[in-house]
């Protein structure tokens, strides 16, 4: 062997070429979905009881990521389906996910305690289109019943595409919009250069780091059973309200069906095919404070919410959907920090009310 001096220029040049090739190869193949399916959850660590979401990863041992494959692979629903069981999946917003609740206190957990094989696939952020995106993945797990908890705030058109998970999975969202002819939703066309860049190794570095961190946090999830940061204190739902009657720019007195993304709900039911879907208008906090004659709570003016309930009921009847209007099923004292987040006791009450309905639907199958 001869000791030749190192040519740093050549080293740098080769490194640069290799870096470019690796980036282009990564962009061409985009292995992120495949990488997302590689998971230590349900193997080394127990599957998570709800989809990964975390604003304080260091304290929640959980994090928000955009890779839907990874999110589902980390969930307990990714386990092989046991024989002779019937799977019930819950789709919905942060109330279904169980904001401020421990995994064993959520609606899904309460229903599980009543003997149903229930999976919590709720995910924070209010958007029916986000729910549709998740429903697509939920259906791969062959559920026997889908319970879709919705609220008016998930249905305004301007809320549909703002959820980060929809934004970061824009290609899939576009496909759903096209497949189900959701004409009211307008997701801007893909910027090809930006999309290509985001698929390179460099552009996707954050996504890759998230995948890795999700696996690392599996250790603490397995060790502690904690998947959420619980603040020591929080403000209760606002009781004294502004006299404002507008709702997402809409003025009273009339809320039209076209103002809401009801066709997204229809798309969900259509996507589910033979699998029954139970649409639940989830409970809301009913304020007794100032201006409560004009508004039910921080989210909803009375005129808009009342008409939404009527519109939803009409749609359910016309389309033959199974629907439950649970809007006032939870007492005001059983809400935690918002007009939709329920307390452990609130979840228990809702589970008790839902159980016979679930039993009836599953019993008929």
């Amino acid at each position: 062997m001869t000791n030749q001096p190192v040519s740093w220029r050549n080293v740098l040049l080769k490194a640069l070429v290799l870096f470019l090739v690796a980036n282009l190869l990564f962009a061409a193949t985009d292995p992120r979905p495949a990488l997302g399916r590689l998971s230590l959850y349900n193997r080394l660590f127990p599957g998570r009881l709800r989809l990964p979401y975390g604003e304080r990863p260091d304290l929640a041992y959980n994090l928000s990521l955009n890779n839907l494959e990874a999110m589902f692979a980390s969930h307990e629903i990714a386990q092989p389906r046991p024989a002779e069981t019937r799977r019930v999946v819950l789709i919905g917003d942060s109330a279904t996910w169980g904001y401020l609740l421990r995994p064993e206190q959520t609606l899904a957990a309460r229903l599980k305690q009543r003997g149903f094989q229930v999976y919590n696939l709720g995910y924070p952020t209010l958007s029916a289109t986000k729910d549709l995106l998740l429903l697509q993945y939920a259906l791969r797990c062959q559920p026997d019943l889908i319970i879709w908890l919705v609220t008016l705030e998930s249905l305004p058109l301007d809320k549909q595409l703002t959820s980060p998970i929809v934004q970061k999975n824009a290609a899939e969202a576009r496909r759903l919009i096209a497949d189900f002819n959701l004409r009211q939703l307008n997701l801007p066309a893909e910027d090809r250069m930006a999309a290509l860049w985001s698929r390179t190794l460099w552009g996707a570095r954050r996504d890759l780091a998230d995948l890795f961190w999700l696996q690392m946090y599996g250790i603490l999830w397995a060790g502690t059973g904690i998947d959420q940061y619980y603040p020591a204190a929080y403000d209760p739902p606002q009781s004294d309200l502004e006299a404002d009657q507008t709702f997402h720019g809409l003025q009273p007195p009339t809320l039209r069906a076209d103002d809401l993304a009801l066709d997204v709900l229809a798309a969900g039911v259509q996507m589910a095919g033979a699998t029954p879907v139970l649409l639940v208008n989830e409970p809301i906090y009913l304020s007794q404070g100032k201006n409560s004659d004009l508004r039910y709570n921080f989210f909803y003016p009375r005129w808009a919410y009342d008409q939404y309930r009527q519109l939803l009921a009409e749609h359910c009847q016309q389309a033959g959907w199974r629907c439950l209007d649970a809007w006032n099923w939870t007492p005001a004292a059983e809400f935690t920090n918002s007009a939709i987040h329920r307390s452990p006791a609130g979840e228990q009450q809702l589970a008790e009310a839902l159980a016979p309905v679930i039993q009836e639907i599953l019993g008929g199958r």
Binding site: V6, W8, P57, D58, L59, F212, W213, M216, Y217, I219, L220, A222, G223, T224, G225, I226
Partner: protein
């Protein structure tokens, strides 16, 4: 050090490595600026400027006291200087060469401090300091006062035993103040009162004096060596550069001044790059990732299953190793780019077959420092003094006290003390065990397989002893540490 800082330091190191004649001056200037740049922002007004300034002042005062009597030109690293070059830096160097070297170094330091102070008037937040520097007149007064004291010390206290010993005690006193939370908090209260800030917000964290631990160790080393007559005659520039050498300022290693001072004209070694890359990988990829799941005061009480608690303890053990040895790699790599060969601080410590060899491989320069300035003098005194205890007692006292002091160096808390004692007891037990079994194990010299087996068992046992020791180190209270240890064993 952050990644951008490492990148800037590596670029500067490359540049400094090219300029052999100007290297001592460039190193001095960069190191002075670096201690301001790396100092974290502090809530007490102006303190993040005054602390680096105090580092420089204390260093210059100690140089004034410790400087040996001068018989010939001091070692500056300029001995191998190349002849005059037509480049601007070389011309500046030529200009600086005229007149008293130490005076020029002092002027350069003062100019840099005042220059940094003047950035206060450049914009909302400029350049190097973590927050806006204090008023310029305050800095000028501070620098003037420090210079006067330096002059007085050099003139009236240089080489005096009382001054040298007093300086050691003063450094230890500041060290204890910074490392003892109630004292640091009291100091924060005083400083807040001085600056007219809310005293209700006072916290020990208000006084985070970056690098002081290592600065104090190097200064005490020079003072003790001066007392022993072993300190070489160094110029002010060389001395200050040794104390605040920017690659090793924040996390060591603690080099010996005798060795360091010979390397000012060393040949740059490009292998430094590789070492920096390894260090960056260890620190930012491995250690920072392990930090997500490493044992800490919050998760220790949350873990339900002992099996996973062991994983957290292992993660902590590996994290602290990769973090610290990563920083050391970066420091050594930066040093090599400028022709300096800083001593190694870690030699695969977790693979060592016993605790004694572990401590010869973990934070080597710190352990050597304590061996040189505490363990050896203490055991010598015990063996030669009026009261001469048995050898085992000498070893017990030496090891317990040394490890206790190493523990307290991290902070004056029960947990660090217990961590030190844990290792002190471990070292003593190993010492006695190896003495007792020496003859028996000697018979295994002809059985390499058995020796290998014993080495593996020893390494596993040592690693676990050290890992369990980290439970004291990582957690905030002795009670939580004890509960965690019990939980690890199913309790």
């Amino acid at each position: 050090m952050t990644l951008p800082q490492i990148l800037v330091f590596a670029t500067l190191a490359l540049w400094v490595g090219r300029w052999t004649p100007a290297r001592p001056w460039l190193l001095l200037a960069i190191s002075v600026l670096a201690i301001y740049w790396t100092q974290p922002a502090l809530p007490i007004r102006g303190l993040d400027f005054w602390l680096p300034t105090a580092t420089l002042a204390v260093t210059i005062w100690v140089w004034g006291i410790a400087r040996p009597e001068r018989k010939e030109p001091p070692a500056t690293g300029e001995a191998d200087a190349a002849p005059r070059a037509p480049h601007l830096p070389a011309r500046v160097l030529e200009f600086l060469r005229r007149g008293d070297q130490d005076g020029r170094a002092a002027l350069l330091i003062a100019a840099l401090i005042l220059g940094l102070g003047a950035t206060r008037y450049l914009g909302p937040l400029c350049c190097v300091t973590p927050s806006r520097p204090p008023e310029f007149w305050q800095i000028a007064v501070g620098v003037g006062g420090a210079a006067l004291l330096a002059f007085a010390l050099r003139r009236f206290a240089a080489g005096r035993r009382g001054a040298l010993e007093g300086a050691v005690w003063a450094l230890l006193a500041v060290f204890i103040l910074l490392k003892t939370d109630p004292l640091a908090q009291a100091a924060a209260l005083g400083l807040r009162a001085l600056t007219g800030q809310s005293q209700a917000m006072a916290s020990a964290l208000d006084i985070r004096w970056l690098g002081f631990s290592y600065v104090a160790f190097r200064l005490i080393h020079t003072l003790r060596d001066r007392l022993a007559g072993r300190l070489p005659d160094l110029s002010l520039a060389a001395f200050v550069t040794y104390i605040i050498f920017f690659p090793a300022f924040t996390a060591g290693p603690i080099d010996r001044v005798q060795r360091f001072s010979k390397e000012f004209a060393g040949k740059p070694d490009w292998s430094g790059f590789e070492r920096i890359l390894w260090g960056v990988f260890k620190k930012f990829a491995l250690a920072d990732t392990l930090a997500l799941v490493a044992l800490n005061g919050v998760n220790a009480s949350q873990v339900i299953h002992p099996g996973w608690l062991w994983v957290l303890v292992y993660a902590y053990a590996l994290r602290i190793y990769f973090d610290f040895s990563g920083y050391t790699d970066i420091a050594i790599g930066l040093g090599r780019l400028m022709g300096f060969h800083l001593p190694e601080n870690f030699e695969r410590p977790y693979l060592k077959p016993n605790l004694t060899t572990f401590w010869n491989a973990w934070h080597i320069t710190l352990a050597q420092w304590f061996r040189a300035y505490w363990f050896n003098p203490l055991t010598r005194a015990l063996r030669t003094g009026r009261w001469q205890p048995p050898l085992s007692v000498v070893i017990l006292l030496g090891q317990l006290s040394t490890m206790l002091l190493i523990g307290l160096w991290h902070g004056v808390t029960w947990n660090f003390a217990l961590w030190g004692l844990w290792h002190g007891v471990g070292l003593f037990v190993h010492n006695r065990w190896s003495e007792a079994t020496k003859a028996r194990f000697a018979s295994l010299n002809d059985h390499p397989a058995a020796q290998r087996f014993l080495a593996v068992v020893g390494a596993l046992a040592t690693f676990h002893y050290v890992a369990l020791g980290w439970v004291w180190f990582a957690l905030p209270s002795a009670a939580l540490s004890w509960q965690t240890l019990l939980k690890l064993f199913g309790g």
